[in-house]
Symmetry: C2
Subunit: 479 residues, 2 copies
């Protein structure tokens, strides 16, 4: 319930976010350190994300499966970088059925190891390849500083794990799934993101190449929103994932993994939300339009409800996710604030005058006040609302893209970069050395986000050390 | 791959089951004691179960959410029966992020406690009720003797948890969800089940009433396939789940929970499977029909594939889950066996003669050999296959119901009961005392399955002690 106003974004963005997540009824803090409860409204949003992604995964030939949530500790030790990366974050089961276990089990922080183990059993011949499996579930990483949806000990995600005969195919798969994430982020979540390669220091533990999509939040911090990794034969070696090729020779598989999590909900909140609350992209909104009937007398009520009920049925039949707010214990003003807080894209008001005139009032969430309000005939309302939803979806993406592009600058020199990353992103040549990357981080707290695939033809010079550099990178403070 | 035949059911039912699960590619043993990997084909079957159930849950006003997989150990100690029931089965996390935890965390074996804790925070007024939340996920119970799908340490399920203002509403909810399970089992899985109340000794730990659906497998053992519980105020007291009622008085909620798991896949296997493998009900089958093109020469191939491809498109457009088996490295006979092992309801054969005649051969999985084979025109094949799928669905349910009813007997006396439960179910009056129940279990290994809601008008006498008894119960050996 939206009794109190949010702290404005301009005053304290982090506090605005924390309040919004609770007030919009998306999630709550769990009585387990660092964990969250995803409430029904938040989960409905995630279900829509899952459906949109799952459809894309299946269209590209992937199937789902389920692997155990507990993994023997020894599995982690088989890939050196992997264990180094994850061992500080593990939750460990030491007792089962009242007895101490011979070997401790880890609550999965990610499943490369156990899936790799199974692939080594399943894959025998080139005819078994590629193996293209995805898993929906949750994983556990013992995080010290947590924030709902952005960083919690347990979080919900999907993890795809694939095995291929050749490097070419595996790298192609990595890019295909990154493109899938990009398509989802841009066209479903209306979150404009950049695709690119992570630097060596920002790579996933055990990967040869890590690619990511990165979005700019309204506080101009970057949010890594999904990653897609190419492992080469690292995990294949560690778990003996091998196959007999067409020349009858035993050969190691090339593997990938790729994941997108409930972090995306954080991206949606911080890309589109305003001081009135959540603003949801229509394609993912659990409720796309809410009807608020307005009346004072019983006579008015019966006339208004007749129209409101008819509209409800028509819009539902048209496939619009519609909600009727017929609560009798709160005012219309309260309802308006409540649905604004929850980010419902369209509000439909029906009052006694609307009944007389054969109209309704439509209020679009993305444009507050008079600007976003229109009065339209009841006849053909399904078309009007569907059209409005399409328009809102496009407007959100346009606004976020303009905001992002207005806040990326190309620094003239290192001093300029230091100024830019205080409150925006810098895009500049970098020599790709760990030293220069570390210097920027130390001086500014900004990190390299990713190196986009599209690069200028000519070379430049590193913004830090001045050495010749082939590619530009985004520098920004990040979540 | 179905290279070898299954051990026949008549020879060793348990071994038949174990082999079938692996050979039909449903699941595999995990490298973690007692855990399973659900393979893509098995998971696709479970996805269809989930979709059919989730639709029913939402239609009855339920919403989904997600609660943490780890639960503080102390939560279990708040409800006495609950902790006694579950403490021998717990997997315990003692370390996180490299340090020993102050309080151990339990990998959830079920979520009444943590959900109860959250409900106590969320529920304030009668206006907040009922709360009708479901969760899809997995739980962990440290089982010593495991069997894929039937009993594993980790298993996949849904657990619904609801809170109500009155006992009447909560009990009604318990029955509503049991009816939902019944509807799903009978009309989607074609598994005929009995609805009824569990005995006091078979109740869920912490419940006041437990109801179940129970199916008869082909070895005539019973399989409890889903349960729905009424808790009274037990958990509300333990977790202070209370609300201010319409008279402005603080009152405890009445709660329920209900769950159905991947065990249902075991029920499907053991109800319908035969010595050739799995037999899937068409409504849940991941692949409803498979096309096997048959040819020898290249000239034949091009003619046959043209028809096969056209049929594939037509059936897909008609909404049939269709698969083309165009593998070129195995024989048609191998393919027939392979899809029979996987339980695909309909096989469509297209050969050179079919192309000439404008026909195809349809083979139904539930009736092997000539009896199940028909030759139908290619024109209108979508209708023919859709009709056949409906017929197969009905036939499976009819066959299973007849088998079940032929294997339930009403014992004349206790000696007769002892004979009956050796290889079938007994249905008889029982005084509902723990003593008589325990005696039957000791003498025969059979347990009370459930007490059906529909009972004869007149009373009878207990089959064990001869005392007057109001209700009849099913006795059977069970999984």
């Amino acid at each position: 319930m939206a009794e109190e106003k949010l702290t404005p974004r301009s005053e304290d963005f982090s506090e605005w976010y924390n309040q919004l997540v609770l007030k919009a009824d998306l999630a709550d803090y769990a009585p387990v350190r660092g964990c969250m409860v995803v409430k029904p409204y938040g989960w409905a949003l995630w279900e829509n994300c899952m459906a949109a992604l799952d459809k894309r995964f299946k269209e590209t030939g992937h199937v789902n499966a389920a692997f155990p949530m507990l993994i023997p500790m020894s599995f982690f030790e088989k890939e050196k970088e992997h264990v180094e990366g994850f061992s500080p974050e593990l939750a460990v089961v030491t007792h089962g059925g009242g007895e101490k276990l011979e070997e401790p089990l880890v609550v999965r922080p990610t499943s490369e190891t156990i899936i790799g183990y199974m692939y080594s059993k399943w894959i025998k011949s080139w005819r078994d390849l590629p193996v293209l499996i995805n898993q929906w579930g949750s994983v556990m990483r013992w995080e010290l500083r947590t924030k709902l949806f952005l960083r919690t000990a347990e979080f919900y995600w999907q993890e795809g794990h694939t095995a291929h005969a050749t490097k070419e195919e595996a790298v192609e798969e990595m890019y295909r799934m990154l493109d899938t994430y990009y398509d989802f982020a841009v066209n479903e979540a209306a979150v404009p993101v950049f695709k690119g390669t992570k630097s060596d220091t920002e790579r996933f533990a055990g990967a040869q190449i890590t690619t990511s999509i990165e979005g700019m939040m309204q506080d101009k911090k970057a949010l890594q929103s999904a990653t897609s990794h190419y492992f080469g034969t690292n995990f294949a070696k560690a778990f003996e994932i091998q196959f007999v090729n067409q020349n009858n020779t035993l050969q190691l598989c090339e593997t990938t993994s790729w994941g997108l999590s409930t972090r995306m909900i954080g991206a949606i909140i911080m890309t589109h939300g305003d001081d009135q609350g959540l603003v949801l992209p229509p394609r993912l909104a659990p409720i796309q339009a809410v009807i608020v009937p307005i009346f004072k007398t019983d006579a008015e009520k019966s006339k208004v409800m007749e129209v409101a009920d008819r509209i409800f049925k028509e819009l539902k039949a048209a496939g619009i996710r519609i909600k009727m707010d017929d609560r009798d214990n709160v005012s219309s003003g309260f309802k308006f604030n409540d649905w604004e807080m929850r980010g419902v894209p369209v509000r439909i008001e029906v009052g006694p005058k609307d009944v007389e005139k054969g109209t309704v009032a439509l209020a679009r969430r993305d444009k507050p006040g008079r600007e976003g309000k229109s009065f339209v005939p009841q006849v053909g309302l399904d078309y009007a609302v569907s059209g409005l939803l399409v328009d809102i979806q496009a407007s959100l993406l346009k606004r976020a893209t303009e905001f992002r592009d207005a806040n990326i600058h190309e620094p003239k020199d290192y001093e300029d970069l230091k100024n830019i990353v205080k409150d925006s992103w810098a895009f500049s040549y970098w020599c790709e050395s760990r030293e220069c990357e570390a210097k920027v981080k130390e001086d500014t707290k900004a990190t390299t986000r990713n190196i986009p695939f599209d690069q200028p033809d000519k070379e430049g010079t590193c913004i830090v050390c001045g050495k010749p550099s082939k590619r530009k990178v985004y520098f920004a403070k990040a979540y």
